[in-house]
Amino acid sequence: MRRRLFFILPMLVLLALMGFFWRGLYLNPTIVSSPLIGKPVPDFSLSRLHNPKATFDQNQLKGQISLVNVWATWCVACRDEQQTLLAFSQQKVVPIYGFDYKDDRQSALQWLAERGNPYAAVAFDPIGNVAINWGVYGAPETFLIDAHGIIRFKYIGPITPKVIRTDFLPRIQALRREGT
């Protein structure tokens, strides 16, 4: 009998694995917890896209609630979220800062000129070495930063009006109530 049990074991292992796969299929890959949530924005200093001589650093993100949107001209999904971001920037709820990731300055400037610029300012990270500290692993990604410069939420994937409604606006309002 114990010998038989030994031969049944592989089947039990399979069943357990299948259970995990079944659950795995229904997980949303866009929700990846970032270890940076609740922590201050990492110190950085980048040149600005429109003015290479000016810098953009973590102090820019203090004093008010803001969004930081990671984008690039090579990113197809960024094109999809562009209109949503433009509309949201016109509502003037919070400033949106752009974070141009592994990009080419000329094409980035042209892109913003042609499609409209939703950003209050754009930091330019051509090599992506600041993005590594932010835990960015693709574009688009959007961070919600509170008035103390602390990362409160990160969204992976293109922003849609629904994402603004369900993921960002409630959190922004909650932060306002906290009085930060």
Binding site: I8, L14, M18, F20, V32, S33, P126, I127
Partner: protein
């Protein structure tokens, strides 16, 4: 019109596959000769229609038929014709069709070469292959039809993912699939053995060449994939522990274990149920690889399909195929005779058992690392990803003892080995390996770590011990003594030699490789390991469907010109860029230059790498493959007819595959 014919061909193939498995399994069960006689024609017919469907899709690609949705999404008028053809398997639907196409090739081969097997056995094997075919054909027809029309037709098509526009695309996926799908043949043999109760020495002998051929294709596919990612992805590495790479590596590890365990079953009649379990596991892991890649369950650079319906279908298919096989295993395997002849601790059997333990533990570790994020997610503990450090930590300690054993195992006799005999046979390789280790420490002194020394020493040990036997027999033959070197033994030596070369390449490249990231302006130069890299500036070039910036680098050494190389940054439609590194290749070192980003005022970020012995990694892979190929040519696999009944417990008498039985010097 042609696409509809392709679709119809898939439906006919599905019907024939149903007939193939019904007549195959039912005929063998009932002993009905007429049914069993229908299996081969059904199998060949099924394969024919699958190939027809494949041809129809290829035709749609080559003739730019953008009214087919799949073609419109993955091809473009400007695409060179070779890539139009390879685009057939550039995305989900087509790669499934390639899967079935490859299965059709294997099915025809099995139908042709299994005529000398007992008819009930070959019918069962073909019946199981038919069921696998049904699964994949149903999957395609219900969730992923490659022939769906697009109305109105697209004007010129979206284009193939630029990363896939490379000659590697013509070889890597077909080779890998030949290996993956080949495991289904080993699986079919194991299931047929479980069904018929015929789990014996003959079963092992019949399935061994098939397993070897599948294994050598898998080896080829993985080696090629590694090389491809090295030069096209611009990452500069040869292996990334990416989930999709792991998905091909796990079946390879288990298949390697299977090849060795089959040897024991064939020679000594031992490890029977273990061998059957390995055959099932190797195929399950191939299916799992398909599931992981095609369901989008793991996010990685490779996974481009993400449709839960497809995931559920593959999961169900995995559950049914593997579940039924394991159920059969739990039911039938305990009843089989475990008499395989005992063996002493110091014997060939023990060494092969250890081989299996190490390989299976390694495969389990890779599986754990690949699935761990998924399991944590399912348990709601959070989502994390597991990176290369985990795999390096697990893998290196496992491989160190493994490569000690690989040198000894082939020299130990079956059943009862002699320690003194093995020691005397291995003194030359051991001395040479120690010498290589000492030379390395003396040459490099402070720079070497323990792991690096151990790696080089073990590589040398593996290479010299693998070479000893063939060289010794060659020597004897030159002196007119009659010695034979069976092809299976020769093949094994060559395969082990390949493993040694690969370890040498991996160790030396990891240990002594140099990577430098620099900002360079035209005219500036950087020295790396005695090589002077001078940046000569960039200029624009254009290809058939892209524009590119091409940099020029002159490489000199001690004033002498070594090479002039041109890394590119290619800009495809839809703003997709690829980094095409330039490599000055040499047998003992590669010089690798990749163009980063423009930083204004003509300066560019540039990555320069010096990679010693990196070619040995792929040379090792190819050598292993060659070894597998030689072993499949062994005489005993070519016997035309075998007796219908074979004494189960008696080991075959022509067991001349022992190194240990080689004549004494």
């Amino acid at each position: 019109m042609i696409p509809e014919l392709g679709h119809l061909a898939l439906i006919i193939a599905l019907c024939l596959a149903a007939a193939q498995s019904f007549f195959g399994l039912g005929g063998a069960q009932r002993g009905n000769l007429i049914w069993m006689n229908a299996v081969r024609p059904a199998a060949v017919g099924q394969s024919f229609f699958v190939m027809l469907a494949f041809g129809a899709l290829a035709y749609a690609f080559l003739t730019n038929d953008f009214s087919v949705a799949y073609v419109a999404a993955n091809s473009n008028i400007a695409l060179p014709w070779v890539y139009k053809f390879t685009a057939v398997w550039g995305a989900h639907e087509g790669s499934l069709l390639l899967w079935v196409f490859v299965l059709a090739i294997w099915t025809v081969a099995v139908a042709h070469f299994s005529r000398h097997l007992p008819q009930d056995f070959s019918s069962r094997v073909l019946g199981v292959l038919g069921i696998i075919s049904i699964g994949f054909l149903l999957f395609m027809l219900t969730t992923s039809d490659p022939f769906g029309r697009l109305l109105p037709p697209a004007a010129q098509g979206a284009d193939l993912n630029p990363i896939l526009q490379d000659p590697g695309m013509a070889i890597h996926p077909p080779m890998l699939y030949m290996g993956y799908v080949g495991m289904s043949v080993a699986f079919a043999f194991a299931v047929a053995a479980l069904l018929s109760g015929r789990m014996d020495v003959m079963w092992a002998r019949w399935s061994r060449p098939w397993t070897l051929v599948a294994w050598l294709f898998l080896t080829c596919g993985i080696t090629f994939g590694s090389w491809w990612s090295y030069y096209v992805l611009g990452w500069g590495g040869f292996w990334f522990w990416d989930p999709v790479e792991n998905a091909s590596f796990m079946p390879w590890l288990v298949a390697t274990a299977l090849v060795h365990s089959l040897a024991v079953t064939e020679k000594r009649g031992a490890f029977k149920s273990w061998t059957a379990l390995l055959a099932i596991a190797a195929f399950s892991l191939s299916l799992l690889g398909t599931f992981l890649v095609r369901s989008g369950i793991l996010i990685s650079v490779h996974a481009f399909a993400s449709d839960p319906r497809r995931g559920i279908f593959i999961l169900a298919m995995l559950g049914v195929f593997v579940g039924v096989a394991l159920f059969l295993y739990a039911w039938r395997a305990p009843t089989f005779s475990q008499r395989g002849g005992g063996f002493k601790i110091f014997s060939r059997e023990t060494f092969l058992l250890l081989n299996n333990v190490f390989l299976v533990v390694a495969a389990a570790a890779v599986l754990l690392g690949t699935l761990y994020p998924l399991v944590l997610g399912a348990l709601k503990i959070g989502q994390i990803s597991v990176g290369p450090p985990y795999f390096d930590h697990i893998f290196v300690p496992l491989m160190l003892p493994f490569f000690v054993l690989i040198g000894i195992g082939p020299y130990v006799r079956w059943k009862h080995g002699s320690v003194t005999e093995v020691l005397s046979k291995l003194r030359i390789p051991a001395a040479l390996a120690l010498w290589a280790g000492v030379v390395m420490i003396v040459l490099l002194r402070a720079e070497v770590s323990f792991i690096a020394t151990a790696g080089v020493l073990l590589a040398a040990w593996t290479i010299f011990s693998a070479l000893q036997e063939p060289l010794q027999r060659l020597w004897q033959r030159l002196h007119h003594r009659h010695v034979s070197l069976p092809r299976s033994v020769f093949g094994m030596s060559i395969a082990h030699l390949g493993a040694g070369l690969m370890i040498l390449g991996v160790t030396v490249n990891t240990m002594l490789g140099i990577t430098i990231d620099r900002v360079m302006k035209p005219g500036s130069s950087v020295a790396v390991h005695g090589y002077q890299f001078t940046f000569q500036g960039v200029h624009a070039v254009s290809g058939p469907n892209y524009r590119a910036v091409q940099g020029a680098f002159a490489v000199t050494r001690a004033g002498k010109k070594v090479a002039l190389i041109y890394p590119e940054k290619r800009q495809f439609r839809h703003d997709v860029t690829t980094t095409n590194a330039a490599i000055a290749a040499g047998p003992f070192r590669d010089l690798y230059v990749a163009l980063g980003n423009p930083l204004g005022q003509d300066s560019w970020s540039v990555r320069i790498e010096y990679k010693p012995l990196v070619r040995f990694i792929w040379l090792g892979g190819l050598t292993m493959m060659l070894g597998g190929f030689i072993a499949t040519l062994d005489k005993r696999y070519r016997q035309v007819r075998v007796p219908a009944t074979v004494d189960v417990s008696a080991p075959p008498k022509d067991a001349d595959t022992d190194l240990a039985k080689a004549p004494e010097r």
